[in-house]
Amino acid sequence: MALFAVGLYLSWTAGRLDRLHARIDAARAALDAQLLRRASVAQELATSGVLDPAASIVLYEAAHAARQAEEEHREVAESELSQALRAIFGEVQQVEVVREAPGGDEAATELAAAVRRVPMARRFHNDAVRAARALRRHRKVRWFRLAGHAPFPMAFEMDDEPPVALADRATT
């Protein structure tokens, strides 16, 4: 009877862990989608000719590197894209110039949405990671190998501070 109760408890824990892993996978997919969206809009703006050529090249290189980055360099490349975006869209006038261009309003709105959603998606992902890590460190999970071969979940650490001029716009 006791053995059965323990078994039931372990099985329930394994189910809990499985749900957490699934939540991480979904959150990671959402984060990837937001990062990719941000890099794509950035690249579009860089090649549009709306920005001055110096800003275009800096932005293009950062967006290009973020999209092409290998998994282990991803956090650095995405952080560098954040820095480049902050440097270029640090002034309200620059955002105004983009909005005045034909189709620029949509691009600016889309970029503003992307730079706001990346930190959100990252927070949800890291929150799920934290929960799963806490459970997986527990004795019962380690002793009975309830996590199976699933890799130990890693948080996604990056600089995702949005540019002031864009973030302000998005909230109004």
Binding site: G49, D52, P53, A55, S56, V58, Q83, I88
Partner: protein
């Protein structure tokens, strides 16, 4: 002539391009021209009267490191204002391909534009993608100057078109007239450059040093430049380390005196050089020069006629060449004499006249420089005001 010069790098940070622009501006002012230099600078930096600040450069990740660049709305506005107020006959842009002030000025101006290409960045993938962004700005350049034959070749390879070669200038007499320092004389080898930058080649020299000391134990190596001194000598046997003297960062005056004092000046750079101003300075000071056989160095040394060359990164070849020079005073005198004659073509009087004739060629029959109001997307959609 009213001349506007655009400096891409912060005025407050010392560097080859900044020094070149400073000397060029002062040379041209000395000839009676009106010169204004637009350069990135912190607001607190004291600037010479001919420099106009374009605002602070912003540190951003670029090309694998953090670069301090000027771009964006405010910088572009400042470039426009400078162009408006200057009413220049010609503007001279340095490093127009780096995404900073040079490229901005190229984009924002119309009229006679001269551009100097100092370094040649290796072709990167992003550079190819950036080509259509760069091209409209670079098309406006009426005359291109490369600082060496090597820089010209890479420029042609990467961007197409052609350029005239005008070397960087040196104040030859400043180096030729300075007094040598007695304590730096007598079987000395000189090296100037960053100690911890492997491309400057100090490790190659350190590898060659034991062979040189084995044959001539009284030789001393004098090293001027920033970096970790302990790490630099770590490859040497302990008893040889005292033969190396570190002088740290030296002033322009001391640099000239050092070059004037040594028996041999060694430039073991392993790459990344497009010109080699230090070789010209060494020859101006009358130092016999021994340099690695980089394209740019061979060019400056007249293919070995004005200084000896050794195989790049080859410590044995360096040691053999250094021993040959140290043991042959007649050859050293010959190199001194040939160097001093050869170096005249790098003097500001020659270089400045060449640059001025480029200015005169492009301004002939052309209108003055003005801000280009048609730049940006408006031109693409035909909304420009003509």
């Amino acid at each position: 002539m009213r001349i506007g010069i655009v400096c891409p790098y912060s005025w407050d940070v010392p560097g080859g391009v900044q020094f070149h622009i400073r000397d060029l501006a002062e040379h041209l002012i000395g000839l009676g021209h009106q010169v204004s230099v637009l350069a990135p600078a912190d607001d607190e930096t004291p600037l010479p009267p001919y420099v106009v600040s374009a605002g602070r450069a912003v540190p951003v990740p670029y090309n694998g490191s953090v670069a301090r660049l000027n771009f964006g709305f405010l910088s572009a506005a400042r470039v426009r204002r400078w162009l408006h107020e200057g009413t220049f006959d010609v503007i001279h842009i340095h490093e127009p391909t780096s995404p900073s002030l040079g490229l901005l000025a190229c984009w924002a101006a119309q009229g006679p534009i001269v551009a100097t290409f100092h370094t040649s960045n290796p072709r990167s993938r992003a550079m190819i993608a950036a080509y259509p962004i760069l091209q409209p700005a670079l098309e406006k350049i009426s005359a291109r100057i490369a600082v060496s034959e090597y820089a010209r070749r890479t420029l042609v390879e990467h961007l197409g078109g052609d350029a005239v070669v005008i070397p960087n200038g040196v104040d030859v007499d400043f180096f030729a007239k300075v007094e040598p320092k007695a304590e730096w004389q007598g079987s000395t080898i000189g090296f100037i450059g960053r100690i911890d930058e492997p491309r400057k080649g100090l490790p190659v020299l350190m590898k060659a040093l034991p062979q040189i000391l084995a044959e001539r134990p009284d030789t001393r190596l004098l090293v001027a430049g920033r970096g970790d001194e302990h790490e630099a000598v770590s490859s040497l046997p302990v008893e040889m380390r005292e033969r190396v003297e570190f002088l740290g960062m030296v002033s322009d005056e001391d640099k000239a005196r050092l070059l004037r004092s040594v028996d041999v000046y060694v430039a073991p750079n392993t790459g990344g050089e497009s010109f080699g101003i230090i070789l010209v300075e060494a020859m101006s000071a009358g130092a016999p020069v021994l340099a690695s056989d980089l394209d740019a160095f061979a060019q400056v040394l007249d293919q070995g006629a004005a200084g000896d060359l050794f195989g790049n990164e080859d410590a044995d070849s360096l040691a053999a060449a250094a021993l040959r020079l140290l043991g042959d005073p007649a050859r050293r005198d010959e190199l001194r004499e040939r160097g001093s004659r050869h170096v005249r073509r790098f003097d500001w009087s020659t270089v400045g006249a060449d640059i001025l004739s480029v200015y005169e060629t492009v301004t002939d029959g052309a209108t003055a420089v003005a801000a280009d109001e048609r730049s940006g997307f408006r031109a693409r959609f035909g909304l420009a005001r003509d």
